[in-house]
Structure formats: C-alpha cells, structure tokens
Subunit: 394 residues, 4 copies
Amino acid sequence: MGVNAPLNRKLRMGLVGGGQGSFIGKVHSIAACLDNRAYVAAGALSSDPARAKASAPDYDIPADRAYGSFTEMLAAEAKRPDRIDFVAITTPNHVHYPVAKAALEAGFHVVCDKPMTFDLAEAEKLVELAQKSSVVFALTHNYTGNPLVRQARDMVAGGELGEVQAVRASYIQGWLRTRLETGDQKQAAWRTDPARSGLAGCWGDIGTHAYNLARFITGLLPDQVSAHLKTFEAGRALDDYGTAVVKFANGCLGTVTASQISHGRENDVRIEIDGTKASLEWHQENPNVLWVRKNGSPHQTYTRAGGPYLSATAAGSCRIPSGHPEGYLEAFANIYTAAFDDMARRLSGDKSPGKSGLYPTVVDGLDGMNFITQCVTSSKEGGAWRSLKHPLLK
Amino acid sequence: MGVNAPLNRKLRMGLVGGGQGSFIGKVHSIAACLDNRAYVAAGALSSDPARAKASAPDYDIPADRAYGSFTEMLAAEAKRPDRIDFVAITTPNHVHYPVAKAALEAGFHVVCDKPMTFDLAEAEKLVELAQKSSVVFALTHNYTGNPLVRQARDMVAGGELGEVQAVRASYIQGWLRTRLETGDQKQAAWRTDPARSGLAGCWGDIGTHAYNLARFITGLLPDQVSAHLKTFEAGRALDDYGTAVVKFANGCLGTVTASQISHGRENDVRIEIDGTKASLEWHQENPNVLWVRKNGSPHQTYTRAGGPYLSATAAGSCRIPSGHPEGYLEAFANIYTAAFDDMARRLSGDKSPGKSGLYPTVVDGLDGMNFITQCVTSSKEGGAWRSLKHPLLK
Amino acid sequence: MGVNAPLNRKLRMGLVGGGQGSFIGKVHSIAACLDNRAYVAAGALSSDPARAKASAPDYDIPADRAYGSFTEMLAAEAKRPDRIDFVAITTPNHVHYPVAKAALEAGFHVVCDKPMTFDLAEAEKLVELAQKSSVVFALTHNYTGNPLVRQARDMVAGGELGEVQAVRASYIQGWLRTRLETGDQKQAAWRTDPARSGLAGCWGDIGTHAYNLARFITGLLPDQVSAHLKTFEAGRALDDYGTAVVKFANGCLGTVTASQISHGRENDVRIEIDGTKASLEWHQENPNVLWVRKNGSPHQTYTRAGGPYLSATAAGSCRIPSGHPEGYLEAFANIYTAAFDDMARRLSGDKSPGKSGLYPTVVDGLDGMNFITQCVTSSKEGGAWRSLKHPLLK
Amino acid sequence: MGVNAPLNRKLRMGLVGGGQGSFIGKVHSIAACLDNRAYVAAGALSSDPARAKASAPDYDIPADRAYGSFTEMLAAEAKRPDRIDFVAITTPNHVHYPVAKAALEAGFHVVCDKPMTFDLAEAEKLVELAQKSSVVFALTHNYTGNPLVRQARDMVAGGELGEVQAVRASYIQGWLRTRLETGDQKQAAWRTDPARSGLAGCWGDIGTHAYNLARFITGLLPDQVSAHLKTFEAGRALDDYGTAVVKFANGCLGTVTASQISHGRENDVRIEIDGTKASLEWHQENPNVLWVRKNGSPHQTYTRAGGPYLSATAAGSCRIPSGHPEGYLEAFANIYTAAFDDMARRLSGDKSPGKSGLYPTVVDGLDGMNFITQCVTSSKEGGAWRSLKHPLLK
C-alpha cells in the first residue's frame, strides 16, 4: 500500500478505453488503484471524443488530461513533467496494437487487456518492439493473480506434483446464449464482431484465458493443437463454443473447452492438473480454495490461511485474512501489483528482471494469439494438428 | 419389493463370476437382491472350479448348484423345473461373449456387465442373437440407474432443455496411478491385460461409462469421433487416460474424458449438458442432486424430494425419502429392477416392449464397443475422424 | 456376506410393524437383509390383523408366520425349532415397550427403532430387563452406522482431537411445515400425536438423533441441559422445533437444534466438534466425507478411501470402493451388522461383550429418553437447567 | 464511481487507528476508497505519535495532516477549509467512544467499527448525541454489505418468506485456539484484554456480528436472551466461545453461536432463516450465493446475476458481473457507499432520511452493546433470561 519503493510516489495511469458503458476499463482502474499505489492521471476513454470527455469525472481525471484520442494523450503526456508512467489498454481488441505500439515507442510502460492483439502478426511485432525497449509489458490474464493459482504454480515448480501429465481447463459462460449483440449490449457487440474481436469470438475472449491458466500453472511449453470451434447461435459471425486438445512438449495431454452458450453458467473457469505425485483442482467461482489430492492421503483443501504450507508468493498475494473472501478485483489487482514492482524499479533505473515471471507478459500475449490462430485454422481444417511452437515463444 | 407381478415369485439368478477376490460380482448380487425380487439360485463363480465351489456359501448357493463352469451351469439348470431365470455375467470382459451367447441360445435372460464384449465383432453377433430371441438383455451401465440421471433424461426428452448442443462428460479416477497390476491386485490385473480387457483399458472400463451416460441422457445419435488415448504408466499395456471429441447427428458437440491416473480422484463421473433452453449438471459422487440452470433465473437444485417437478420415472426410482442419501447400490439395483419388470412380464407370456427403454440393452452394448473400437483406431491414426454410425444402431 | 460365523446360518428376523403405508419397517428389512446374513422369517406387520396378513408377501413371509399381533408371533415362534432369532420393532413409539419387554422376556434378541420407548419409566424398566437377560439389544440410531461417523469417533477416542470442548449438532427438516397430520399422511399422524409419540414430537423424532450422534462420536457423558421447544404450526399437539444447550461432564459445551418446519430442508443432520488439537465436521446429506481441520494445516477431507488414515472400524464399515456413494441404507445396515456379530456369537454360546460398543444399546435408548424428558421439562420451566445424569447411565 | 452527487467532489476521510501492525484500519481505507468517492485526507493513526507519523505515507497522508492524536486531528481539521468530512474509527474498542463523541460534537460524520463502544452506558450516550446532531453515523457490521445479504433482507421485507419463525446464526473462527495474546500478536492482545475490549471477547468481536446479521435480515425486534459464554483457553481473561438463545418479539426463536477456538475454521459466518413460506441460508465464506428453499420446489441458488429475481438494492450493491467473485472488501465498501450517499446529501443541505436503513447505525450499535451486556450478565447468572428491549431501540 502507498508509495512504490524505491520510486517513492504513486504511479500515474493513462487509461485508454473505459468510457461510459464499458466494463473492463473500470475494473482496470479499480484494480490499479486498490492498493493506493497508482491513480488515473489521464485518459483517452472513448473513441468518441465527446464521450471521452464526459467520462473523465468518473475517474477523477482533470479536464485537461481527458484526451480525445490515445494519440493525443501520448503526445501531450510525453511533454509533461508529471507525465503518466504507464498506459492501460482496455479497448476492444482491434485497438490494442496501435495503442501498445505507440506507447512502447514513446517509452511508456504498458498494461494491456487480453487477447493481446487483433491478429498474430501484430502480436509478433509487439514482442519485437517490447523486447527492444526496456518497458514493462503486462497482460491481464487476471485469473493468474489469484493467490491459490500462484500457489498451484509454485507447487508445480517445486516438484510437489511430480511430472505433469494431464491438464483439463475450461471456461464456461452462458450470457451469449441469445444474440445480445443485436441489441444495444456493447460488451456483446464488439466481442461478436470480426472487425473488432479478430479471428475468434468465445475462443479469443475466454478460451485463451483457460489456455493461459494451464500454461501459467504448469509452465509446460505447448507442442500441437487440434481444435473444434462452433457457432451455435444462428447468425452470429464468430464462434461461441469450442474445445481443443493440446499436446505439450513433455508429452502432457491437455484439453481446453470454452462456452458462451451454457445456460446459467457465469464465469466458471476450472482447471484440473494431474502429476505423477499429486493432482490439483481450482475453480474461479470459488477461488479461495485449492484442492490437492494424493492417493492414500485425505484430500487437502488449501486456503489463503498462512502457515508453512503456503508459498511466499501466494501468501504475499493476499490482502486480508483467510476466510474473508477475496475475489476478482483482488486477483486483477495482483497483476498490477507485480507489474508496479517492476515499473517502480525500472523508473528508478534498475533494469534487472524483477517479478517479470509473476505476471503475464508480451510473450504470453503472443502465445495466446498463436493459440487462437492455430485453433481457428485447425477447426477450419476439421481438427487438423497445428503446431503451437513459435520462434518467439521461449 | 417382494414378488414380481404378474409372475408372482422371486426371480432366480445364475451368477457367473463373483468368486473370492471379485468386486463386481458381489455388487450384482446385492443390487439384484436389494428389493427382495430375486435371489442367487445358482452360480459359476470362478473359472477355477475349486474356488467356484468355495465361494458359493457367500451367496447362499447350495452346493449342488455351485457349478465349476458356466457351461455346466447352463446345461444343468436347463433341466431343472426351478431353473434359473437369468444369468448375470460379472467376469472379466473376454468371458462376456461366450457366456452371453450360451445363455441367449439356451433362452435365459441376461444381465451383463460392461463393456459388453471383448471386441466389436462379438458385440455385433450378440445383437443379432438377442434380437432373434425374446429374452431380456440388460447391460449394467449402472450410473443411468440414478434417479436424477433419469430425471435429466426425462427433462431432455420432454423438451425442457430445448435442442441439446453441447455435452461434456468425464470419468476421473486415480487408483491406477501406479502399476497395481504388477502386484496381486486382481481388479487391476485383468483390466490392464489386453488378453482379458480387449482393445482398451481405461477407455473401455470407464470412458465408455461417460459416453453411455451422455447418450442415455441426451438420446442423441452419434456421428463421428476423434480420440486421443495415452498410457502414462510406463510398461502398462493399455491406455490409462484418454479424451475424445464426439460429433452427434444433430450437430451437438461432445467431449468425453477419462482418467485412471489422477491422484486422489475416486469415481468422479461428471456430466454437463447445454440446451438452447436450459443446462444441466450432475456428479456421480454427489448423486442426489441435479443442477438445472437457465439464464435469468436462480440456479435450481433438484433433489429426490417428491413434488410436481420430479418425473414419474425419477420418483419411482427412489427407495427412501430425499435427504437420506441413496448411492451406488441403489442405482445399480434400479437397472435390475427395470430389467426384472420386463423379465417377469415375458416369463408370464407378455412380449410387449415394456421398460426396455429404461435400462441399457444389447444395442447400447454394441454402441459402446463401437465407440471403444473407433476411438482406439482414431487414436492410433493421430485423432482421425471415425464414424460412430453403425447399421445395428438405431 | 452370507452366513454368520460362528453360527453358520442366516439369522431369522421377526418384524413388528412395517405394514402397508409404513416407511421404516421396509428400511429395517432392507438393512437387515442387505448383506444376506438375515431374512424376514416372520412378522406382525400391523395392529390391524387383516393388513398384517396382506402385507406379508412384501417381505416373503409365508402365510403361517404372518401373525395378527406381536403377542401371537412371540408365542408361536417360541415353539418352533426354526424360531426367529430376533425381533425388529418398527412401530410407532408407544408400542416399542410392550414388544421389547415381551421379546426380552421370551429371550429373543431385539433391534428397536428410536426413541426407545414412550416415556422414561419404560426405558428404565427396559434397561433393567435387558441387563438381566443375555440378549443383544440394539437401537437404530442409524446415523452412527456411517463409516465416517465411526471414523470420527475413532479419532476422538484415539486422542486425535485432544480434549473435546464444544459440539454443535443439528437436524433440520421441513416436511412438517404444514399440518400433514390432518390428512392421511400416516408418518405425520403418529409423530404428532402425544398418545403415540410420547412427550415430544420433533424433539423425540430427530432432536434425539442429533444428541445421540454427539454422544456417540465424543463419548462424553452429559451433565445438564437447558432446552426451548416450540410448536410453530398452530393446532399441532407436539413441538416441531427446538434447541438445547448441553453441558457435558468434562466442561464441554454443546448445542442441539432440531426443526421439522424449515422449508425445503430434507434430512440435514450436521455435527461440528471442536477439540484442543483438531476439529471435525460431518453432514449426513453428504455422508461420504468428513472434514478434519487443524490450525496451520490445509483442511483435510477424509473419504471412504482406504489408506493408513482410515480406522479399521471405519474401513470395515464400507461395502464398495470410495467414490461410489454409500448412503442411508448402508449406514442403517451397519447397525444391524454389528448387532448380528453379537447375536451370532451369543447364539453360539459366547457371552463376551463383542461389538456392543459399536451399535447403540438399551442404555443409549435410556439416555435418549432421559434427554427428551429433561428437555421437555426444562422447556416448560423456561429453560431451567435439568440434570442429564441418570443412575443407569454409566 | 467518482464524484459524490450532489456534492460533486470526493469525501475526505480522517482515519483514527490503522497504524503499522493494524489490520482493520487498512480495510477501512481500502473500502472507503474502492469506488474513488473518498480519500484519506488526514489521520491519527496510532496512540503512539511517532508511529502515527511513520504510518502516514502508507495512506498518502501528507505530513501536516498526520496527527499525533485524534484530539489534535479534530481541532486542526475543524479550522481547515478542506477539512475532513468524516472520521473513521478503527481503534480497539475502548477508544471508540471518546473519538465518536468528539467527532459528533465537532459535527463530523462518523464511520465506526464494531462493537460500537466499550460499554452500554457509552452507547446510550452516543445515541443521544447522534440523534441530537444531523450527522451520519455508520457502524461497520460489514457482512450486511454483501449483495446477497441485502437480497435476503429485501425478500423478508417483501414477504417472500412469510412470517419469520426461526433463525440460526453462527460465527466460527479458530485463530485464538492458542493464547496468541501472550506473544506479540496485536490483534489478539487487545481483543482478549478487558481494559481494551470491554466485557466480552469472542462475543463482542464476532458474536455481535452474527446477532446483527440476524437482526438486519429479519428486521425482527429482540425480546429476551439466555446466554452461555465460555473461556476454553486457560488464563485468557475473556470469553472465547459462546452460545445464546434469543426470543424475538414476534415469537421467533433464534440461536447465536460464536467461537474463536475451532481448529482450522476461518471466518465462517452462517445464517439460516425459516419463514412460513420459504427458508434462506447464507455463508460468508461463500458469499456470492444465497440458498432459497421452499417445500415442493427445487432448491434455488440466487447469485449476483441480474434478472427479475434480484432486488434493486442487491443488484445495485454489485460492482462486477456475477461469476466473478466479490468478497469481503466489496461488502465492506458497500457500507461506506451507502453512508457516503447520505453524507453527500447532508453536506449539500438535504436532511431527508436517505439510505439510513441500508447501513447499520448508532442504534444498531446500541443494540449490539445491549446484546453483549445482557449476554454477559445472563451467562454469569447461569443463563438467566435478560431483556433485550431497550428504550432507545425502536
């Protein structure tokens, strides 16, 4: 909480997106500000300049820093002594790349919503840009910010599961069971529009979350994928359901399933991981527990309670005592927190790697775009195997 | 309970398998006798005649009806005025066909454990034999006997889910995480032995249960399958993990996953079904509830409690009031109960179809063997699509 | 399964109660016969002789052993060489004592439903009768038959919880939310009738189960009670809700709450036990798990899975592998099983104590009647403390 | 989010307590600032002036507004044009009253942690003071801020439960199972110290939460209480366990139980409410669901999902879409939000009652102190009935 050591001041956020009617922009601002380490200093809140200005008071953005476009914001802010430290990109997908590119080139740190870009080519260019620069680039695969997801990851990394051999990840929603996009539902409209969402609908919006979660926890490199995407709502331009089989480099077999058309299901992200020594299960809708199982022992339920069994990273990702539920916002804020640690270090002149392993980066963004792209192609080819190896993916 | 109308006496069971060290033979006898409508009259309890005899007192089988082989049993029983009414086949898979064939040819009713046969060719022959005869042939895909599974099926059949578009079925176990088959674990030994289990291990033992459950509840006909089976325990001769994508004839997309190597997981059968009007979720380890969800309404939890919302079949499948858990044995017994209704009718001369839709039959057994066979082939061919249409599958 | 060593034959049950329209009589017969160690040999199934006879075929009772009254049954059976071994009393409460007394005096073993008698005086007389005789007297507080309840008890006895300091037990139902007793619901009618149920309604029917469960698991002796019983349904003659504070002899503080008027609640028996070293939680509607918690450790979920952590008694109380749910009937049968072990021993001439600690006995029945009686008195006196110490309660 | 209509600016918080080592002070500041409607403008963070100053940067409090005592803060702030709008009292209990009194007298709005005061006399004086003034006085019984708790309350108020007849509320923790207070655990030290905590330990800290939750949801007025408090950890000066029976004015029977010594239990607040038409159940550790049950219907699980079934107040208490968990901080913030609405109105000159029913007030604080006081007395008198009617309790 409070200042950012060693920088010793709050970080200044430049918010792109988040205008009236938006959902995720507000989430970013709450998450970024939750620990009082940042504030929204400037914004280009909408592609409609009038709405951009009108939305500024919602974030306490002063009128002179409520810009009509991100270009304008970056140009004006670059000249200020109290210029923004980072840009948060919370727009529909097709706008991610131009904003991120411009921010990187201007030397601003970047926090970008997922999926990272509109297409794979943009993602590749962004990796190159980011790797040439020295800025922090964080991608908000927010579920990885949950303390018990980080615990799971640390357990795998520490060998407590042995070799990971099977992963089952899914993300089941129901809100697009009807064609909300034909009404005035902004969230539905852009997510189902190929011009704004990209190649995929459900698969890019949430399938990629499930895939990333599997990658984050297991640390396994992907090898190949075979996918089947479906559009169940007649007239919809993009997929609203899909499933994929993923072969990982070590021989692990994974499945990823995502749905937007399952009645009554909300944001049901679940992951199960089987290792040779133990297995794990975690559900996003009940995020404060992690089930750990081992043949011959009682099943174990890890909570956020302190104790010798919780990793330092997991324990350090909690704000309040166990039993008092933490949720979506705290997990989201944990992505910001780790990125802030790195930003503060770099702004203070320290270029060491820091916490870059703790939050998803531009390379994870590329991995996600590659996953989406190969899945869409695989699905068009009847489930043909596509490689998930990518030269930029370490 | 008690007598079987219109037959007005208990049915006489001839048990094949179930000798000392067996598991499923005892389950069959408990299930068959639970409602006092049948008793174990005779048995060929083991392929080892000495053990067959020694095991007879466990079932109250008199010495003169404790046979050394099923051939002996069928021959001797056929001559008795109080001959057995049905044969229950509870042996390893490779023995199912010869027993079933002999029983059918001798005019005995049959209750057979799953998977139905050693290979698809045997299954095809059995369908033809059964269809020529007038006997009852019931296959113990026991999970379909759960009252709330039957409720789910009735809801789909009654249109409460609308069109079914997606199904996710899985069966996750952990007991074969180590190579129990190298010790003296009989259950593990035959299940992992190609000479006794058939083409598949995990997939035939439990993958087929998950597939059958999906078929039973949805009533959808299968079209094609793409499967990936794995053997994670080095040295094991058959698969111990697998996943498949199933396309159904109506365009529904299904996934089936099964594991025997997931630490600490017991018999975790789960199924989720998405329809255009509502969705369902059921877990075998918590079988007394069924979750029904519909956008815009509170989630609903159906229990075995009576009331206008429970179908007559589901209500009729319960023995005790809701809140007092029923479990595996009762569900297993419900398969027997429905088959007994048909047996009693036929033994009384009535040849009408009766409850033949309520328990899995020889055709379901064929469907299962076809599923196993096509999945194994698909897996060998890298997940190639294989047809699940079969001329004998209506 | 099968014969009862060292007796080497099935036990013969004489069922009192269980006529058409009954619930618990059928439960007793299923439970007694589940393991094929007993069969219903004779019955006095109803106080209406015609219905008693008509109900006999439901239990395969031959016509000549379908008696018109329990007096008739005991007299006739006493003369037979294949006389019944035990009497199962499944009538409304007011009939328990005369049947039990007559059975004890005639030297039959007894299995009696709870609460044991109509009033405390009868209970006291029954203890004296039973203690003078050498018969087995088992009381079906059936929830104590659950494997994980027995595990809980063994853990307390083994010191794994340390000193037990607090217990919270409850039994919440909703079926008597309306006055079913004014219609033709037999179960409701006698339970709400002081002439048949005794001093208490809800409290005798289910409050006593919750109390007994606490006593069974903890082994603590009761000291004093303060109770508050309520009748919420206007016109009902007996309580339908109640709560009590129980002081145990060691200083442990207990609470017992029972309801029959909680909408939608089924048979929700829950118990939580706090010891100085660990705590336990168990729910009857989800009986196959036991939660064990200890500060500083992950929460543990015990299941019926074998392994070093399950006590021999708990493991020996399971019929099927873990993950395949066992429920109400199996737990009920476990009471019978333990009693059968003792009956078979005694019938073989062995008078040693055997398993008499594993099933509730006549003394537990007295304890329950004393609990009911003192609670009713306490409630009438505004919650005054009443002693639960009783000279016959060791 | 953003400005407070009609005031059109952020509210300025003066934080009392919250210095290094504190827990609840930080929670208050996060909760107050979550929606960007307030910021911490000044603070008297510790009774130790050096620590008070040192802690200021954690809250971005400028040095000149980091005061050495609350007296100093109130005096200095009263003179500033940008003076604080409200005082948040987050100290140990014995300091609540002097701060609240001084704040009220100086005309500052107040948000006070619970229990409201050190003793009942202070509470009575505070009610009089508050009722004479026109300031907002909010008490942070934070669990009432959960959307589904507010939904429960709206359902009761709207008659959906019928008459409420029984309530079971409990709050089970385990962290004080050992005498943490003998070490350097500040949270444990003051809570177990009669000089700082007041008459009660566990009962004042969490028993009062459970009681308040019952009062908030049901709206029932209390009549009488009989309580039993225990100190299980030898040497501890205050209770660490307790249970009470509460009679409400309408005849409803309630039970309240609280523990700090239940191994492994975290913050397990549960409440069950039985009405003549339906029943409710809610658990704080799983706060995003509310179970609603009605005989003859499937059980219903309400979530935060929008729809015709969620009350406007409940829906308006959510920040993010259902399925994305909200937790402790959001619920806490909802208390602030409702109080802010009233503060902003009053600061704009509007004296109408506003949302004063939506957050606990000074009268609820009095009710809590009366509850604690009568329970302690009752317990000392062996559970004697004590009146909960209080002339200041409407």
